[in-house]
Symmetry: C2
Subunit: 298 residues, 2 copies
């Protein structure tokens, strides 16, 4: 959990007359039956052109936002894409080709955005999801005894980033996981359509333990899980499996009966939500000691 970020969010909540929409990665607009999410990617903070081309940057930027919509259990529909920085025709062309390929893959329409000059490249995407026929998740919805189930690999992206930082030139499954992550589109659909009871779901954009800590704090539960049940690519270091971000795998905490109705092969039960507030892996408490990597605020 990143303390500075938490403090900033607290200040924002206190500044707003109505902060009831904040708290999950997506806002759920009940009156419109829509979910909305917005994510920033800043050059030098979230990405580095040494490791990613404009095409894959476009693709990944949209994926990161789609992933938030999937974690809410809604269906991605529309996105705005805004871009600032020292823009060139070639950059814009390649970047938007990546955006478009990702949009087409997931059935998203690009409906607008803005362009501006600036020093570093900044990407801001806002995405709208359809909640009709879906049970929408919330970090607050986990209950003691619920199953903890994971879908997708954990730690591959962070391990891939380390390889890239160490000058790994050839693509492998780790670097690929970092550059062009896999989204859990079907799992999100299946869970949100089949679950009858409230459930919690987050993506692993900031790592598995980070997601568990958020759900723990919001739902007032703890977790017990077994490390060997967590899905990861053989060779991924334990630290990355637990704390590595940017995999966009799903972390679901759901009722056991609901789980039985969900038919997704890749969804693995790894543990349970508990009454206590701590996170126990193989009986030992784990805390997020990851540095504040993406939020070096003053």
């Amino acid at each position: 959990m990143q303390n500075t970020e938490l403090k900033f969010i607290e200040i924002i909540k206190n500044s707003l007359s109505d902060s009831s929409y904040l708290g999950d990665d997506c806002a759920y607009l009940k009156d419109l039956n829509l979910s909305v999410s917005s994510d920033l990617l800043i050059e030098g903070v979230h990405f580095d052109f040494k490791f990613i081309t404009p095409y894959f940057l476009g693709k990944k930027a949209l994926k990161v936002n789609i992933s938030d919509i999937l974690a809410s259990g809604s269906k991605p529909l529309y996105a705005t894409v805004s871009l600032s920085g020292k823009l060139s025709k070639n950059f814009i062309k390649e970047f938007y080709c990546g955006i478009n390929d990702c949009a087409d893959e997931f059935g998203v329409k690009i409906i607008g955005g803005d362009l501006s000059t600036g020093e570093k490249i900044g990407i801001s995407i806002c995405i709208i999801g359809d909640c009709r026929g879906r049970n929408i998740s919330s970090r607050k919805n986990a209950k003691e005894g619920y199953l903890l189930a994971l879908c997708g690999n954990f730690g591959a992206s962070a391990q891939g980033l380390k390889m890239l930082l160490n000058n790994q030139k050839e693509e492998n499954e780790f670097t690929k996981a970092h550059i062009d992550p896999i989204l859990q589109f079907e799992c999100s659909k299946e869970i949100s359509e089949k679950c009858k009871k409230p459930y919690a779901m987050m993506d692993s954009s900031d790592g598995l333990i980070n997601a568990l800590e958020w759900i723990s704090m919001s739902s007032k539960v703890g977790f017990e899980l077994e490390f060997d049940k967590i899905p990861y690519i053989v060779g991924t270091k334990r630290e990355e499996v637990l704390f590595g971000g940017e995999d966009y795998s799903l972390v679901c905490v759901l009722d056991e009966t609901d789980f039985k109705n969900v038919n997704i092969r890749g969804l693995k039960v790894v543990g349970r939500a508990t009454l206590g507030r701590n996170i126990l892996i193989d009986g030992k408490e784990v805390k997020n000691e990851k540095k504040e990597e993406f939020l070096h605020f003053d």
Copy 2:
């Protein structure tokens, strides 16, 4: 008209499988009966902390986005606010107080956003408007013979900015127009509720002539207007009245019968849409020779 921006938009349109939502400041989502718009504000490009406090920056950033929704003829509902830069607690507090005061004034709910570190302050807002019961504008909708009507002052903000750049310290109506612009909420509502026929409407965020050029290009019409009928504060220079941006006044091109049903005192008829493609003021052609102020692309 800014050539670089036009070229970039053309590249984006060509990169997308479906670019039908682009072309107006707002995207109109017929299936959801919503409009969506997104605007960036970057430090050093769109604003300078020498002239604006974090509170008024927050207020203005949201106003700029609300103005796009008003120009579409829809009712602002929800907004996400993302912020990057060297953020401090005080900055966030003041900025979001400005956001909140503006949100409360116009009935907008803040539903989320993102925070990131970065070099300069960057603000990205995405706003959703309600189109129910409203006739939604498009730049393509102007027709020969339609009236050209304006609501709000023109040129005051640009003249105010020049005063600020010249070290004007005391507030006056020009500097106020720049720091805390007036939005035409009632005019937007009245026009979109009363107009039966298609109409074109834009805000004057990039100046009067820029708006007329966009409508001219999109609707294939020209304009004839009289300078003395344009609403401006006495003492505003002619150049600012025609080319100065950031007033967020409304430029409407609408059917004459529809105009008679619109009951807004401040809405002034200044001319008509014509068959030719040029813009004639008091019989003389005018072109936008404003420099590419906000888009210094490579």
